[in-house]
């Protein structure tokens, strides 16, 4: 199988779904003629036409709002928000309409659609090109939230999201768009939503990450292996609904948990995992659950490396947990 980047895998998945299902339409700023600011949709408009790969005016509210209508009237829109930091003009439409359409109409209408957006830090983007807002969406009933960490999952999860009957927020870790490569089958395939993946088995401590941070977890796990600490690493993949069984199974085995995410700590998604685990597996815990996260500040520019969780910080947290 060919090795391709995460970005290429997403591009492939999107292309495959557009070939398979003519109801799939893409819309967003600069995605067509220019091929997207990350060149993810390069060649799409030439192939699928301007009616299915739509360059929109500069309005996230317009993009999401009309996408909801497109979905409600039978299409399968996959709107792109150029950077997720710019999704908030559409926040009302997302939380009050997209998330609630099925519920508020008693199931008479539904809006299957996938909002794709690059998220996260690591590209020197300062506070408006680096945010990780997954907790906002995880807290919003009616949304699914998906974050891949590698090319294989990226393609499979994107395809599953597009075929899913519910609206999905699909966050793409832009830092590793090109940095992470992997083998990806050329044909379409699905990676089911809601299932985490144990990317490394271990006995002593569980590390949970997703997106870019999964790789930080893996790096930390490798680092402490030399010291004889065996970490189990879980790639959450779907944030909502998250795979609690896999998490609990692992923590019951290891007794120790470190959660890593880029988003600010307070009310970040790590809090939910910590709350669930300490509620359901308290007696298995041999040490406090530690969260290694971004700080409770807007995302910085010059000091982004200080802001972002790195393997060394995760290793420190592992030590802290092991020495408890």
């Amino acid at each position: 199988m060919p090795e391709i980047t995460l970005l290429q895998a997403l591009s492939q998945g999107l292309w495959a779904e557009m070939e398979r299902d003519e109801r799939v339409v893409l819309l967003g700023e600069d995605i067509g003629h220019a091929g997207g600011v990350f060149v993810l949709t390069k060649g799409f408009q030439e192939h699928f036409g301007e009616d299915r790969v739509i360059d929109t005016p500069l309005s996230e509210g317009g993009i999401i709002g009309t996408s909801i209508g497109l979905a409600l009237n039978g299409l399968r829109p996959v709107p792109e928000i150029q950077f997720v930091d710019f999704i908030y003009p559409a926040f009302d439409l997302i939380v009050n309409e997209m998330a609630k359409m099925r519920y508020r109409t008693g199931g008479q209408y539904s809006v299957p659609m996938v909002v794709r957006s690059p998220y996260g830090g690591g590209i020197r983007g300062g506070h408006y090109h680096s945010q990780s807002p997954e907790a906002y969406f995880a807290h919003t009933a009616g949304l699914k939230v998906v974050i891949p960490s590698n090319p294989y999952d990226a393609k499979g999860l994107l395809i599953s999201s597009i075929r899913d009957p519910d609206p999905v927020i699909f966050l793409e870790p832009k830092k590793i768009y090109r940095a992470v490569r992997g083998e990806v089958p050329e044909e379409p395939y699905m990676v089911p939503l809601g299932e985490a993946k144990v990317t490394r088995e271990g006995e002593d401590l569980t590390l949970i990450g997703y997106g870019t941070m999964l790789h930080v977890c893996m790096e930390a796990a490798e680092a402490v292996e030399k010291e004889g600490v065996s970490c189990e690493v879980i790639d959450l993949r779907t944030i909502m609904p998250f795979d609690l069984d896999t998490i609990l199974g692992s923590v019951r085995k290891t007794g120790r948990l470190v959660i890593v995410h880029e988003a600010p700590k307070t009310c970040g998604f790590g809090a939910e995992i910590a709350a669930q685990v300490s509620e359901r597996a308290l007696l298995s815990l041999e040490a406090p659950i530690i969260r290694v996260t971004g700080f409770d500040t807007p995302f910085p520019y010059s000091l982004e490396d200080v802001y972002l969780p790195d393997a060394a910080s995760v290793v420190r947290a592992i030590h802290q947990s092991m020495n408890f």
Partner: protein
Amino acid sequence: MKEFEEPFQIIAPDGTCRSDLDPNLEEDALLNLYRMMVLTRAVDTTSVILQRQGKIGFYVPSTGEEAAQIGSAYALEPSDLIVAAYREPGAAFLRGMPVERLYHQACGNAKDLLKGRQMPSHFGDGSVNFVPASSPVGTQIPIAVGAAWASKMKKDGRVTLVYFGDGATSQGDFHTGMNFAGVYRVPIVLFCKNNQWAISCPFSKQTASGSIHIKAMAYGFEGRQVDGNDVLAVYVATQQAVAKARRGGGPTLLEVLTYRIGPHSTSDDPRRYRDQAEVDLWKQKDPIDRFRIYLEQKGLWCKEDDERLCAEAEAHAKEAFDVAENTPMPPVESLFEDVYETPTWNLKEQDEFARLKVGQT
């Protein structure tokens, strides 16, 4: 220039008709329009009383705005889509939604198509292509534009009509919806019921533009001002906009001038903020009275007919409510349906918890 023209009118307040503009609808059609307006008024009156009696929790009256609702909905094909605000029960009735459904929704009972999840006056009925309202003002606009756009892409020949108020035009959603409608020339009628008030905000304080139809210039398509208390004018203007949309001519903004005779909702007391004199002035332009005079002048209607119809309509509303009132509440498990197509584990768990709470296990 459009903005200096008079609003489009066919029947003058005294019932006289511009025969050159009269669409010459058949007798049945004319009577149907009238009946629906009267039914809408009867449901309104009944509902306000029901709310005062504590039998329903809330209601949004549309008295005075019947011509705007009925004339517009009548211009659509059944397969066309209506995306509504909360003040258009008449449009839903005209489409075929039974009055009973409005009351099932108001009661939030087991027969409510919305399964008891929204406040009263958020009715809707997918089977007649009438999308239920949500409360946030303005969100329906870009959504409706998207729905219309889908029709254009699918070439299904459908036109979408979206209702919104004068207040809604101040929202960002109005702007983005209008802009996308203009850029992609989607088959939509943007139907603004300018009833002069947004709760306590008079139109003069909502925007400095003086009118709403003029705002269409900012988006490169036609805006038109219509006398909203003249059911024929509303019908003809909407019909023209619909026809244009259907033949690929793109969107039209209709500013339909009418008046919110009642309070904003049963929770509101308009005496706090507006003069009765203004209300009285508009009462003289009552859309039902005006159309009745027209029908009478045509020899199609008389006092006895009217008395019978009003009594029937009132009885119909009451009977519909009786059915709704005697329908049980939705079951607890319905709380957890429709969040997703298939409930997720957390919802299943919470469903258990909820049953425990109500003593079902």
